[in-house]
Structures are given as C-alpha cells and as structure tokens.
Amino acid sequence: MTATAVKAPTSARVRSSRNARRESFLFWVARYSLLIALGVMFLGPLLFVFLTSVMSGQQALTTDYWPNSWNWDNYAKVFTEAPMVRHLGNTMLYAGLATVFMLISSIGPAYAFSRLRWRGRNKVFVLVLVTMMLPPQVTVVPMYILWTDWGLTGSLWPLIIPNLFGDAFSIFLLRQFLLTIPKEYTDAAKVDGCNEFQVLWKVILPMARPAIAATAMFMFFYAWNDYFGPLLYTSEERDNWPLSLALASFRGQYQVDWNITMAATLLVMMPVMVVFFFAQKAFVEGVTLTGVKG
C-alpha cells in the first residue's frame, strides 16, 4: 500500500523529467527562432522606414531596399518642402500648454479622489471613469458649435483650454499612484498641524514626483499624437496645423516624394522613442497602472 503510493510519483517524475528535457530543448529552439522572427517583425518596419528615408526619390519607388546613396540631406529637405518648423511650433504649443494646464487642474481632484475621505467619493469617481471611457465623438457636435460661437475654431485653443478643467485620464492615473502612498506619511504631517493644502504641497507632491512626470509625459504625447482633435478644429487653417495633420497630408498636400515623407515620419516618431529610452520605467509603470491589478 505504502510502497505503491511512494513508487507511483517516482516513476511519474522520471518520465516527466525525460519529457521535460526533450521539451525544453524543443522549446529552446522554438523560443529563440520565434523571438528572432518577432524581433524582425517589430523592428523591421522601423529599419525600412529609415533605409527609405536616406534613399534617392527614384530608388524609393523600386524594390531595391538598400540605399545606393546615402542622402542625409533628405532630413533637411523635410523642413524646406513644407513649413515643418511652424507645424512643430503648433504641436509644441498644443502639447506644452495642454500638459501644464492638466497638471494645474488635475492634481487637486486626484488628491480629493484618493486621499480625502468624503461621502459618495467612489460614486463620483465613477463619473470620472465614464468621461474617460466614452468616445470623444459623442460630445463633439455641441462642443464644435460652442467653440464656433466663441470664435475659436480654426485654432488649437478648443483642444488646449479644456485641460484647465481637469483631464479625466490624468486624474485617474494620478489617483492610482496616490493611493499607493502609505497613510502614515500624511498622518504625521497632519499631527504636525498641516492642513490638506499643505499636506498636498509638502508631503504628497514631492513623493509623487515620478507619477506626476509619467502623467505629464502621457498627456504630452497624447497631444503630440492627436489627429482627430486638430483635424476637427484646424482642418481649414493650414497655418495652425500641428505635426500630425501636416504629416498626414505631407504627400497629398505638398506633393513630396516617399523618401522625404519617410524622413518626416521618422522625425515625428523620434521624440516619443527617445523619451521612452530614457524614461522607460515610468512609462511601463504608468501603462501597468492603467490596467487593473488583479
């Protein structure tokens, strides 16, 4: 009785370890060939965009993918073929002001939703989540009419000003971060006689600096990438186009060759990727927090 009971698991273990060895070898081969294939899939497009961006205009229209000549001046041409400096300025204005405004208006609400105790807090927070989830197209018609009445269509202000009044996604993200700061820190400050504003300013803000940086980064790149908003409001006003609109109509509007278009494409991608390279940890943590932790 006991003998069989002991024996059974042993033979099973021997069998499974032999299986495991064979399997692990197969897995090793599969895993690395798969990884390399996936790596090529993910980075290949970027490589070919780069290679095209330094080709001559004629070569870009052939199936010869290695540049015959390295035309680095394609990158300079991006700025002469279209007023890209102006578009870059518009994007910086939009992304910069939106980020600053968001920080001014969203930290307070995030604090109230995470560290102040009040009745109905979670119910009101549901409203923040709802505004965050609903597609922007749902409210776009009356907003467009309103901004037209105020004479601001044609400019990027309809996209900048709302950030003065709290951005739902930023409030959500900041709240998730602020919830993780242990209560003891703020309690200590309160015992020392700090009021809530002082607690936020002196205790929470210094501790939440990485979180605030991550939220600011998300906002900045949201504005940097935004296409629908600028299309809606500045479509008719080419002088106010941000980079996203300029890039989308680079070929159609300015009749530019593919090689220059790819150079412009890469230039628009660059800032996000460079920032990611230096602030990887904050990025990944931020994205993780937007998912639900189990």
Binding site: F42, Q137, G166, S235, S244, M273
Partner: protein
Amino acid sequence: MTITATRGTRVDVPAALRKKRRRHRLVVLAFLAPWIAGFLMFFGYPFVATVYYSFTRYDLFTPPEFVGLLNYEFMVKDDPTVRIAVRNTLWLVALMVPAKILFALGLAQILTRLKSGVGFWRSVFYLPALAPPVAATIAFVFLFNPEYGVANAVLGVFGVDGPGWFTDPDWSKPSLTLLALWGAGDVMIILLAALLDVPRDLYDAADVDGAGPTQKFRFVTLPTISPVLGFAAITGVIQTLQYFTQAAVASGVASNRASTGKGGSDVLGFPEQSTLTYPLWLYVRGFGQNYLGYASALAMALLVVAFALTVLMLWRAPALMGGEGENS
C-alpha cells in the same frame, strides 16, 4: 413632531464638530472645483445638447429647426452608408480586437518564459506601440505598397503573390489589423503584469499534480488573469468604436490624396468605403457635409453602445474603483 425630533438630534452635534465638517466639505469642494466645472462644461452640457441637436436640422448657419425623430428614421432607413460604416466597425471589433489581445497575450507569455533579456525584449515589443498613429500608418501604407513595398517583396521570396493591402477593399481592414498588431505592446505590458502576478504556488501545485504546460495555462493562468483579459477586451472594444486616425490617414495616403480639409471627406473610406468606420462617417456627415443634427443622432447611437460597454466594464472591474481602499 418627528421632524423637530430629528432636528433636535442634529443640534446635539457639538457646534465645533459641525464647523469642522463644513470646513472639510469646503476643502473637498475646493480640490474638486476644476473637475466639477469641467465636467459640467465639457460633458454635462454637450451631453444634453447632443440629445437636443439630434432632434433638429442644423447646419451651423441657420438656427436649428426641430424635426422630431426624422434624423433617427433617416439613420435607420435611408442612409445606406450607415450600414456600411456599422459593418466596418463591427468587423474591427470582432476580428481586430481579439487578434490584438491574443497576440499581446502570446508575447507576454513568451516574455514570462525568458530567463534573460526580458527587459530588452519587452522594449522591442513595446517600442512600436509608442509610434504616433499618423506616422505608423504612413509607414505601413508605404511598406505594404503592392508595387514597391517591402512586405510583398518578402512574400515574393516565399513564392507568395502579395495582395494589394491598403489599396484593395478586401485587404484594407486586414492591413489595419496588422498595423494594430504591430502596436500590441501596450496591451502586452498590462497582460505581462497580470501574468507575473499569478502566484507561483499555483504552478507548483499544478506541477505536483503532473499538469503539462497547456493544462497549466488552461487551469491556472487563464482563470487568474481573466479579469485583466476582460478589462483589456472591453477597453479594446471601446477604443475600436472610436477608431478614426489610422483609417482616415490610411485612406488619404493610400489614395494619394489629401484627407484634410472639407474636400477631403470623400477620400475617407478608400478603397470603396472599406475603411469607412462609424466615427469616420459621423465626421463626414457632421463636419464634411454640415449635417450637425444628423451627426448628433449618429453620436447618440454611439453613446448608447459605448455607455453600455462602460457600465459592463465598471461592473467587471471593481478593482479599478476600489484601488487600495479608503486611505484618507
């Protein structure tokens, strides 16, 4: 009598405490003030106004004229393009969303098995997700160009005659799906965090029971991460309901015409309205053709679906709400 009684008990609360409570309420309001103002201006008002405009005919130049349910009737009966737009959006919801999540899950699963270089490979898989959608779309339209794109050249090596991708109505949505898979890194990060949260003991217990990798995935991994998978699915669907940029840019670049400006609206959906998603059609009707009342009716229909999904998500994902609980 009862009223005075209850009033009486309230008076019993010491004046100092009541004052403190009122002060606290004011402090909370002060912190919330910007959000409350924003909520009323940029959500409450437009929400009510969309309902109102959806019952009117309005072109921005003449005052809105009340037309009852005409917009809704037109939407259901007389606008065949709505049906095309709904079908395109449903296609993306049914195929692009699951494909992206499964792909992201596969990537995350591979990362959990790596013994070294996890950080490196995670960056490699995540990097494309950061590419601005306009830039990524232009790059893809070029790389998948049927004549000189590198994608068909690679397929040619394997003896496959590549399709027309973004220029072929049958292939334009699959092409957009490939673009979405290239950007699956953000979903992968969330799923990776969930996979790493699965308690090790569960796997050890499964090992003792002699479970193979497939069984472990089926009976340990999947049940543990299913809330996060559900969350990813619902947010994925909600995001796909507003799918705009990639479809708009792809149609503009693939057709070689400008998709911005009023004249651009007839380019949207190229080729043959195969990429004309629901929000794209809302945009064309409302802002290309100035049927703002009708666009409001389209927005209402979108709102109902998106709202239902949001409620479903909030119900499925209480963790989003509760966080770490009542820290004060």
